[in-house]
Amino acid sequence: MPVIDPVIDSVITWLKRTAYIRATGEVVPDTELIARGILDSIEILNLVSYLEENFGIALPIDEFVPENFETPRAIANLVVRLRPAVAAE
């Protein structure tokens, strides 16, 4: 399984649980989170806290930009990119 898939899953699970899913409530890996207004400023901060805690990453300020939050897939890409190279077996 590609390393990114479980990250996408957990992002989607988080979004379903806490974000204001305003439109249909359906979230898929390529749902546009910014364009559709699903992530507002408070939700983005909550999400970043979750990602930092859950994946042990620290989001540098210059990565805190919309491009990295456009879809669950983009968020997962960001996490994978920032995650320390764990357990390189």
């Binding site: 899913i21 901060l45 300020i61 990565e63 805190f64 919309p66 939050f69």
Partner: protein, 512 residues
Amino acid sequence: MTIMLAASPLIAPLLEDRAGAAHPAVSAGDVVLSYGELQRAVTMTADELRRSGVRPGDRVAICLPKSIATLTLILGTLAAGAAYVPLNHRLPAAQLRTILTELRPRLLIAANDLADTLDPDALPGLRVAVTDGVPGARFVTLQRLHGAAPDVASPEDLAAVLYTSGTTGEPKGIMLSHQGMTSFVDWAADTFEVSAADRASSHAPFHFDLSVLDIFCTLNRHATLHLLDETTTRFPGVMRAAIDKIGITMWYSVPTALAQLQARRALKGVQSLRLVLFAGEVLPVPVLRQVMADLPDVEFANLYGPTETNVCTWYRVPGPLPAEVGTLPIGQPCAHCDITLRDLDGAPVAAGETGEICVTGPAVMLGYWQKPTLTTAVRVAGQAGTYRTGDLGYVRGDGELMLVGRRDQQVKLRGHRIELLALEAALNSHPSVQEAIAVVAQDAAEGQLCVFLSPSGSATGTPSELREFLAARLAPYYLPDRFEFVAELPRTANGKADRSALRLRAHTATTK
């Protein structure tokens, strides 16, 4: 170039020719308007409004996202001698209809889709103008005018009506006069020495009272106003880049905006800032201490005041902030305001005692639009030019005014006024809810709106159902951060829901 005579003292200085026509007045993204261009845009917009039937003394409702075009509509409305009424374009259609029905503006200016949603034909007497809404447009052309223009007189000297939600969630239109707004704007511009060298960031939407300082202080002193878009304010990385790129010197926002940036250490190393003003809610001192440590050469001031008076007291924060400071004072009355502390009967309290903060002065609102009873109720002994804030305060030994809390259940969160009772009333009308209690849990950075619900029978609404239910009834900022279902709400000795117990519980849940 011919400069028209200003119909309002509020915009007279910005229309004067002393700035130098090429000096930048306002920017949004890559679009920049010079003072010469802004003056022309305002003149043309005022002409366009007059052609659309707007006369001095009218009200013009402007229900559009923040943009340069929206700003020129506000200024053009004032130039045409009318009062501007900025409305949140994200309010539910039902609430906008309520406001428009009571406001009876000469003209409503809205974007196409909103105008359709509102169904103006269902609002008899409402004249609607639709703008093309081109981003970055410098002035607007009004299309598709229809409807009959009502004739309802405004109070003399009306410059603006700012809407906030009232005790039952019912909107209240706060009427502000030219004289009052000018007295506040002049005070702020003098006190903070705003000059043509300043570049100010505009964070607040135009329907917020913070925008009065943003727009008029900046433009009347020929400084440059930078309208920030939502992407910028939402992403600390983009915000920081914008601060540096624009070279922001003056910052004015609700504390939340500062706290969010501080949480990412996004202010460290900013060189351009000289002044940071915050208002609208309490900024936790630990956060402020960090912000001040990251911006050691910047002047900080805590501004206090409800929309009914705009800023009426202020406190220049000494830097570095002494370690023993736990709560920030709201400081001293502004030069154009008198402050008294009164008991429930309206009598001044003794020195050092806690009383309701009451404001007297030219900047106090003219009243609530079409609500004379409520207007009288919030005045000191019914007197015009006075306002009882509903906030409690006391004067500390060193003469600084301290804010204690609210007399009722109104809270401010992320810059929005939230009537907890209105939120509870809305939830109580949902079939699955027996009783709802809303509380604000404070953590270090900001409050969280939490709702505790006891279910009615076996049916339990899911949080998303309840959100949807609320979204159709209340403004978006009323949507709780958390819902918690409890079998039984804790009670006080006299049987009322125990709000302090719930606050504590919400707080523990937030910080654990």
